[in-house]
Symmetry: C2
Subunit: 423 residues, 2 copies
């Protein structure tokens, strides 16, 4: 078994944490931003230092590749994203990139023999923080291989029109056009050129920590659905309009939110998660009764029957009385549970066992680039613990030791994959 | 009795509705904007056409004055504001300006004798839509005459630093500096130069309409308090963080909002109004559990004891359990009920009776420029009905007939004031 280097890993973690430092221990590093360029410059510096070839595709996905002994072998790819949510942490996404870099650095430093070319990848715009949707550029890469009913969600032209939430004049396509790392469509990841993909990631939840395990052998990504729940009321002046005549969209939404919690919790599924994280209110003025309130609800579970039970509850909302406001429930999108490639999951499990780290099987509640790539390549993931389960926030933390353990599992799983003729 | 002209009034209403037309029957016309300049240009055109003298002060408050027969008499002033909230209506504020213009036009056209110079005023930035607070420039004018505990709220230097909610680089002072209608501090309204003030305004509530009355004789502006209710939770990833461990600030706020409605409604005060119109949520991302949720609560009633009862309920919030989130309740500001000058209220009541319009005494739930001016001059207000009580929204409407009736009451009340040696 080979092991990655804690000191080198720590240096990467500290360095990348500077790019977009938001001042409270975390980062804000939107895709295509100046901060994203800093992170990518660092990726190039470190990968060129070990002799890797750098390529970028037309979506600004970046690939650093070291050759293998077989000139005809396809590439095995590892990686993740380097963009963050607003006030996010130093591990979500970037750990998968740092882990991939660490694997290549370890292989070069120790001259570890391998047959396949090995590639570290950065996917552009996984978080969709400025330009929705999430996992945009892995989605575009996998577009032709997706089930037909999803394809339209990641149509190239549509994605290029994605509007900035910061600047209504700006689209993803326009910003990409002038981005330093936009490259050639010929360099895109394809099944013709790539053999398999591994993504190391933080768990972003407390399950490994609570179970006292070092590594999660990820078996699937949970099925997920996203709805918007909208309330339409009547605006009127705060000081002059009697309470009894009001149609207050915020009051309606607050009651509906409490009702949803009661109803969904009564289903009694302990492993069901649902989140109402995004809110739009109009006009959002303290002297005006709100005439519109809209919240997102993101629901995740492995079992489609459980998701259907929640869907049924959501569909009851428009039939109920909410402070005289009309209610609409609108499906944003949904996806089925995605199971990882069993052979690759087996390599991860063997690797972690041989390294002697404690481990457990786990599913992923979060979406990841790997899940779209899995439509075109055999794919799997490796998780390391998140302190207190926190993620998508500045206190997000995983120890250097745990990060390095994750990279070591990645290294050995990739080498196992490399040793098979067909992964 | 003199009467104003419906056709001329209608022409003004239609013309001013074009400046900032938001496309659904209403306007967005922020103070100091291009649209505000268009409205002021129109004011200048019309007032110069009747020979009025135009003056502007250092706050861009605008004054159009016609002389009276007594060269030593102080001015009697009428007016309001021409800025609007976002997607506001065609009557709030601007009716008071149009009414004042209509009075001057009627007096000039009919050569109605009067002793005092008569002035139509536009106050800058009443709504505070881009640059808070509301009633900024009438507040600055009245600063030295206010009770000491309010003064700091309208200190000139502080107001100039008010930040744009649209552009964080812009302050009110900076924008005012280059505004077309910024004038001279010598032109400010002062008690030395002005005798009394009348403000015609739409009711912005349904009380006159429900009672079937043409005109409201306003007796006071309700006491008001504004609080912010803040919840601090813990951000975490939507897909990975178990429900039982969450500290969801939005869920906490929704429960607290419902609780507040229950508690306040149990007080049983029919004429109490309270509004939760403005919301801040962080990070406002559909894949992240919110760690911060903040809503405004604006509470209004004539009786300070009733406001105190609501204050006591609000102060209970931080002691209660809200989904594991910390709660803070912060006072924004409050003001006591302001009673109008009894003599001027009497002129309004006499005028409306002599004109034969149906009327009732009413208080104002909304704040108005007149309320700050009342600290330095005898002041009163006149209300006309709002269709369905709607205001601060595009469907806001008052008929041409009702607007003209309001102007006729204003005209005759002002002439009564003019006929007294000391109003």
């Amino acid at each position: 078994m080979y092991q990655c280097d804690e000191k080198r890993m720590e240096d990467k973690i500290k360095t990348f944490a500077q790019f977009g430092d938001a001042g409270h221990g975390g980062i804000t590093r939107y895709s295509l931003s100046e901060e994203a360029i800093q992170a990518r410059d660092e990726f190039v510096r470190r990968m060129q230092a070990i002799g890797a070839t750098i390529e970028t595709d037309d979506l600004a996905n970046m690939y650093a590749t070291i050759p293998g002994s077989d000139p005809n072998a396809k590439r095995i790819v590892m990686g993740s994203h380097c963009d963050s949510v607003k006030n996010g942490g130093n591990y979500d996404g970037i750990l998968g990139v740092m882990g991939a870099m660490e694997v290549l650095e370890t292989i070069v430093a120790n001259q570890i023999p391998h047959k396949h070319p090995l590639t570290a990848v950065i996917f552009t715009n996984e978080e969709g923080s400025e330009f929705p949707p999430c996992m945009m550029c892995s989605g575009i890469l996998a577009h032709d291989y997706m089930p037909e009913r999803f394809r339209d969600n990641f149509a190239y032209e549509k994605m290029m029109q994605s509007k900035s939430i910061l600047d209504p004049e700006m689209t993803f396509g326009k910003k990409l056009e002038t981005f330093k790392y936009k490259g050639d469509i010929q360099n895109r990841m394809t099944p013709e050129k790539y053999q398999a993909m591994f993504e190391l990631h933080i768990e972003q939840g407390p399950i490994l920590e609570d179970a006292g395990k070092d590594v999660g052998v990820v078996t699937c990504v949970l099925g997920q659905m996203l709805y918007r729940v909208k309330f339409y009321g009547q605006a009127a002046h705060a000081g002059t309009f009697p309470m009894k005549k009001r149609h207050d969209a915020f009051h309606a939404a607050a009651e509906a939110l409490c009702w949803l919690h009661d109803e969904i919790d009564q289903l009694g599924h302990e492993d069901l998660v649902y989140t109402t994280g995004e809110v739009v209110i109009h006009p959002c003025v303290n002297t005006v009764i709100p005439d519109f309130f809209d919240f997102s609800i993101d629901v995740r579970h492995e079992n489609p029957d459980v998701l259907n039970q929640v869907r049924e509850i959501l569909q009851k909302l428009p039939q109920k009385e909410w402070k005289g406001c009309r209610c609409e429930v609108e499906l944003g999108w949904n996806r089925d549970t995605v199971y990882w490639n069993k052979e690759l999951v087996g390599y991860v499990r063997e690797a972690v066992e041989e390294l002697g780290y404690s481990h457990m099987d786990i599913n992923s509640g979060a979406g990841h680039d790997a899940q779209y790539i899995s439509y075109m390549l055999p794919t799997t993931m490796i998780f390391v613990p998140s302190d207190k389960g926190l993620s998508h926030c500045e206190p997000e933390h995983t120890s250097v030791k745990q990060c390095t353990q994750g990279a070591s599992v990645l290294l050995n799983a990739v080498l196992k994959c490399d040793q098979k003729d067909e992964a």
